[in-house]
Symmetry: C2
Subunit: 439 residues, 2 copies
């Protein structure tokens, strides 16, 4: 698919592979080449010894040890002569995101790992033995403490599909949709890490033909394929789109599990609430915005011009291939460029009322769907509300998720001979508990 | 007004004044008699020395010093032989709420301050001189770290008034309203303490006669008179109403500042977002649920029975007089018993999907309005959307808030010869900034 062209340019030229001396890093199929350097935290079993890490090739690299060894210490943003306090690279990335000079750190880390770069680590076998460990055995935990979670609705095909099903084709897009990124506040406590089992929720539901609501397990439980943006720097007051873009540290895959039957009954007039509160799964590696810089693409052509505070100022959308795999079968594939509002525009809108934004805020993009059926990022759309169930290669059909279903999202920005992978974002749906209020 | 009677009893008999030896505490006009013992934190200018305090009479009492002096140390909930770690009563009440035996602590504190109780503090003039300070000079800071903020819509007169204005009298109450407490997730970062100035927000607005939206300062900026419930204990999974009631630590006054014009344009289909994100003001003293125990009243008579998971199980509503004062003029007075869903029912519903709830979660009740015009808890209702502006005693009129307006909410549960006061919940509206995106 060719890149859509827009008023603000044609995107950034793609970079080529940055070659590294770390095993596996130069393999075109490796999700974690030197161009990536994702931000994660390794779970050691004891929160006091958990450490920030990056993945490169088939290895994870302990950044806390690298700091303690004096090889790589983050410097303070806007105060280049100062370094961050020792221990910044322990526990989570919040302190780094809030205070550190992201670009300088990334440049120094790249130099340490590059084939012809700073040899201080490459030529120190004892230190190398300490700071590297096999990626395959790494247990990941929270990369950030999530402050608050907001979910947007910035995918036009998704909004059109859902609107058509709920309100008819003539009223598919709400009148405000073309003018701002519609969103709602979600529940940060319900965000879980990839690998966490999801329990089918109970909730209040009422079918269109039923006289009264019932309390029952959700029968229309769904996934939503989204990209999540992690806000790195706090703000107090309205941000421009450029300021917002600069405050976004990175991106994760995000599955916004959704109980469509609970949502249909509850959402008027104050929006989704318990339908979205069971769980939202994110991938444990934050892919830095800097790693995606050469995959930035221009905005879509706009039906109506945006107001100045939301106007496109450059290529802030991303060419990232995305997929949904159900029980091992790929059921959908699309691309993040299908979004109509960038995370920067979402954050600018979020801050427009003066809403304070925090380091660690998570912004879901909304479901990303393409124009074709096979590009739809939710079962609601894939099965058109259950009217055209999906047939899986194993012969079973799906309108919505069944107990035991395993869902995996995938994401990769594809360059010339390399890719920026997102790592896993998966979970298994467990059956509902017995009625918690019986007897 | 007589107490409404309902299916589950007629409320708890009102207690009489508990007499204290602390000056001013037995005055019938004092908001902080021994029956109250609100939970606050005193701002010392250095977060490390801030301390948990209660107010009694015209004094504040330093609970951290009392703990250090060995007079009053919280015991661990469900583990009565264990005491909480030293320092629990510093900084905020979250640790206490999560872990301590609330009732045992309250009983011991009551005994220390009662006229004929434990003399250990009363008869120790040196200690007394250390632990007491004049309330009038106390600077209060955050009583809790707010985890997440949810706002409900549990006031029937308010929902009916707003629904009538927006959708006509025949469709005033949404169909789901009588079956569950409708709510939406708010933004915890926007909650501020009483006394904080509020800046009139900018936002995207579009009048019914306008062709396109504009970015402009909100011209319909409003208050909402609410009660806020503070969740004291975390949970993972659906709570019964009784469990939810037991997890609520206490209550605050809450003003949910609202930009009606931003809301009208943005709220379909995902609910209020930036309209509610400028600020929500809370009072700095948490009034313990235990202090309000003798003001519990039965639920309203229900039009339709609630489903089992939300069913009324006892008198969990509160007889609390509430008021709104604008520039010194009382413009509305109502009572918390006008709510149709208790905070316990709100919390039970909130947890029904499995949503994890946290210590420090804040649940706004929704605007509390009575049946009469003078009992309406928002200017939207008082001026009926601007159609019947309010005339103030100074001759000016109000449809919505004007720059410079000072708002104060008041709350008191009134017993026989005493009252449980809520303390201040106020703020002044500052003019909007110049266009943040001009030029």
């Amino acid at each position: 698919m060719d890149a859509p062209t827009g008023p603000t340019g044609t995107g950034t030229p793609k970079m080529t592979l940055l070659r590294s001396w770390v095993p596996g890093a130069n393999d075109p199929a490796c999700p974690f080449p030197l161009n990536n350097l994702p931000c994660g935290v390794i779970d050691t079993g004891d929160p006091r010894t958990d450490f920030c890490a990056t993945a490169i090739g088939d290895q994870v690299l302990n950044l806390a040890l690298l700091e303690e060894a004096g090889l790589l210490r983050p410097r303070v943003w806007r105060q280049p002569s100062a370094t961050m306090p020792q221990g910044t690279m322990r526990t989570h990335w919040n302190g780094f995101m809030a205070m550190a000079d992201w670009d300088a750190y990334r440049a120094a880390l790249t130099d340490l790992l590059a084939e012809h770069g700073n040899p201080a680590l490459r030529d120190a076998p004892d230190l190398r033995a300490q700071v590297f460990a096999p990626l395959a055995q790494a247990q990941l935990t929270w990369p950030v403490r999530i402050a608050e979670y907001t979910d947007f609705y910035a995918g036009r095909h998704h909004a059109t599909n859902v609107g058509t099903m709920f309100r008819g084709a003539d009223n598919a897009l709400p009148p405000n949709w073309l003018h701002m990124p519609i969103g709602y506040n979600g529940r940060a406590s319900s965000v879980v890490l990839s690998g966490t089992d999801i329990r089918r929720p109970w909730g209040q539901v009422k079918g269109p033909d039923e006289d009264a609501p019932r309390f029952a397990p959700s029968a229309r439980f769904d996934l939503e394929l989204e990209l999540g943006a992690v806000v790195g720097r706090a703000s107090h007051g309205p941000l421009t789109v450029d300021q917002a873009d600069a405050n976004i540290f990175g991106y994760v895959l995000l599955n916004d599990w959704s109980a469509r039957d609970i949502q249909a009954w509850e959402y008027q007039p104050l929006g989704p609430f318990q339908a979205k509160a069971t769980a939202t799964t994110i991938s444990p590696w934050i892919i830095p915005a800097a790693a995606l810089g050469s995959f930035r693409v221009p905005p879509p052509v706009r039906d109506v011009p945006l107001l100045p505070h939301l106007r496109d100022t450059g290529p802030m959308f991303y060419d990232i291939d995305l997929s949904v795999t159900l029980n091992g079968h790929r059921i959908a594939a699309t691309n993040a460029r299908e979004l109509s509002y960038s995370a920067a525009q979402q954050l600018a809108h979020h801050s427009s009322s003066g809403c304070p934004m925090r380091t660690g805020d998570l912004l879901g993009s909304g479901t990303i769907s393409g124009a074709e059926r096979a590009e739809r990022g939710s079962l609601l759309e894939l099965s058109w509300g259950g009217k055209t169930p999906l047939t899986l290669p194993d012969g079973t059909t799906r309108s919505f998720l069944e107990d035991g279903d395993h869902l995996a999202l995938g994401g990769a920005a594809r360059g010339d001979g390399y890719q920026i992978g997102f790592g896993p974002c998966e979970g298994t749906l467990l059956p509902a508990h017995d009625d918690p209020f019986k007897g």
